[in-house]
């Protein structure tokens, strides 16, 4: 996982927390541009406090933050793609254990997955532990698996198919 601390000022410029994802960055950038490039109730009321020059400077900083964060997210994605490609070669079955192993090898903390996917940490733990009994009904569990897989840059459909096969098998056994 790339360290985000050096990018703090850029996240702040877009008024985002350090754990924001790229969609949020993109949206915030559009909003900030809107606020400072057009006249609105909010900007018209400041009066002399802010000159045209101030605004231009600010818009430039907003643009810079967006560019830098764009690069950051692209690099991050590339790192994941390369790493994952090597790690997953030959793997055809994904259970919780396999997922955890891949995650560890990629040095991605579970909290990070929880934060970006907004899947509660407890569910992610159960997912990795193959603790099917504690997981929610299939539709939700499948959604969790897909989000998890996407965050690790895995082939989400493949992973979900494999994981849910095991989940269903367990369900059938339980039913009898």
């Amino acid at each position: 996982m790339k360290d985000r601390a050096p990018y703090q000022a850029h996240f702040e410029m877009l008024e985002l927390p350090l754990d924001a994802n790229f969609d949020e960055v993109h949206k915030a950038w559009q909003v900030m541009k809107d606020i400072y490039s057009t006249d609105s109730l909010a900007t018209m009321s400041i009066g002399e406090e802010v000159s045209e020059e101030d605004r231009r400077l600010l818009l430039a900083k907003i643009e810079e933050a967006y560019q830098a964060l764009g690069d950051f997210f692209r690099d991050h994605q590339q790192l994941l793609d390369n790493g994952v490609h090597q790690l997953t070669e030959g793997i055809t079955e994904y259970d919780g254990k396999a997922l955890r192993t891949i995650r560890h090898l990629l040095h991605i903390p579970l909290d990070d997955v929880a934060m970006s996917t907004r899947v509660p940490r407890k569910h992610l733990e159960n997912l990795e532990a193959d603790n099917y009994a504690a997981l929610p009904v299939a539709v939700y569990t499948r959604g969790f698996v897909i989000n998890y897989a996407k965050h690790l840059a895995l082939d989400a459909d493949l992973v979900a198919k494999s994981y849910m096969e095991k989940y269903r098998k367990w369900q059938e056994e339980k039913g009898q």
Binding site: E15, M32, I35, S40, L41, T43, V50
Partner: protein
């Protein structure tokens, strides 16, 4: 009603802004919402035009802050039952003594007794304007609330109020550290120093010495205001709150949180006229739900997300 040592109350105060933006309504409703989770004491500190009781649906209490100032009755004894469970009210006065005449010592005594009130939440409603007594009262709060409406006059007033608030705090902090009058003097010499706005003043102060910079950065790190946009009618109005917040952060360097918006509803005035608290009469209206979200956000520090 003396507070046990274990009880730590959260003080919230609303001040500034233009008259009539809805400070009293928002505070009364916030108080009612909080009274479901803990004991609340509301203080109507609008010494010129107390009217908080109208929004709580009761008539003007007979014991008021006048008794505290003139007859030295302990503050806690002046809290009356509001008829709403868990919510006590302490009322200001109309026309007796104006905020201007309160002496410094009286004010300190008032603040001390406010802090000692037996409550989980102490909510103070203040009048419009930038009188220093209003500002000083706001500064004792853990949560400083500023209400705006989507109108240019209200927003202009807010920026001006925020400047005053921050100035006063800055001045107070620097005086405490032995830099009496530094802020005032710097502002006085602003032409010579090339200071044309608020941000430049703060920058100039920080440049005085590394120590002053440290004081400002340390002491004002937690300085934050909670913005509430009231009387919203359109999505555009709601988004105005996001913009105002952004400006406070970027151009004033003040940590502003956009804590919530409250929609316009004609029934607000009507409820007050009929002495029925709006929040209990229309608990499911969009306006009431706005109040509930605002309550949660103020306590948790969360903010309104951009919705455009």
């Amino acid at each position: 009603m003396v507070k046990g040592p274990e009880r730590k109350s959260i003080i919230m105060a609303v001040g500034g802004g233009k008259g009539g933006v809805g400070k009293s309504f928002v505070m009364a409703s916030l108080g009612m919402s909080l009274a479901r989770q803990g004991r609340v004491v509301m203080i109507d500190g609008d010494l010129g035009g107390a009217n908080l009781h109208n929004f709580l649906g009761i008539s003007r209490p007979t014991s008021t802050l006048t008794d505290f100032f003139e007859r030295k009755v302990p503050l806690a004894d002046l809290v009356v039952d509001s008829g709403i469970s868990n919510l006590g009210l302490l009322t200001g006065m109309v026309g007796t003594i104006g905020a201007e005449t309160i002496k410094h010592a009286q004010k300190q005594k008032l603040f001390n007794q406010i802090r000692k009130l037996d409550a989980d939440y102490i909510l103070i409603d203040l009048g419009a304007g930038t009188h220093f007594n209003t500002i000083d009262t706001l500064l004792i709060a853990d949560k400083m609330i500023i209400v705006i409406t989507p109108e240019i006059v209200s927003i202009e007033n807010m920026y001006n109020f925020l400047r005053n608030l921050y100035f006063r705090r800055l001045g107070g902090v620097l005086t405490d550290h032995g830099y009496r009058d530094l802020v005032v003097n710097t502002w006085h010499d602003r032409d010579a120093l090339g200071i044309s706005n608020f941000r430049e003043l703060v920058d100039c102060l920080k440049a005085v010495s590394p120590e002053v910079r440290l004081i400002i950065e340390e002491e004002l790190r937690d300085f934050a205001v909670n913005l509430v946009l009231n009387k919203a009618r359109t999505n555009q109005d709601i988004v105005t709150g996001n913009s105002v917040k952004s400006i406070c952060v970027k151009f004033f360097g003040v940590n502003a949180l956009y804590s919530g918006y409250v929609e316009h509803d004609d029934l607000v005035s009507r409820s007050a006229n009929h002495r029925t608290p709006y929040l209990s009469a229309y608990p499911n209206s969009r306006c009431s739900r706005g109040i509930e979200r605002l309550t949660v956000n103020i306590l948790s520090g969360q903010q309104v997300k951009v919705t455009r």
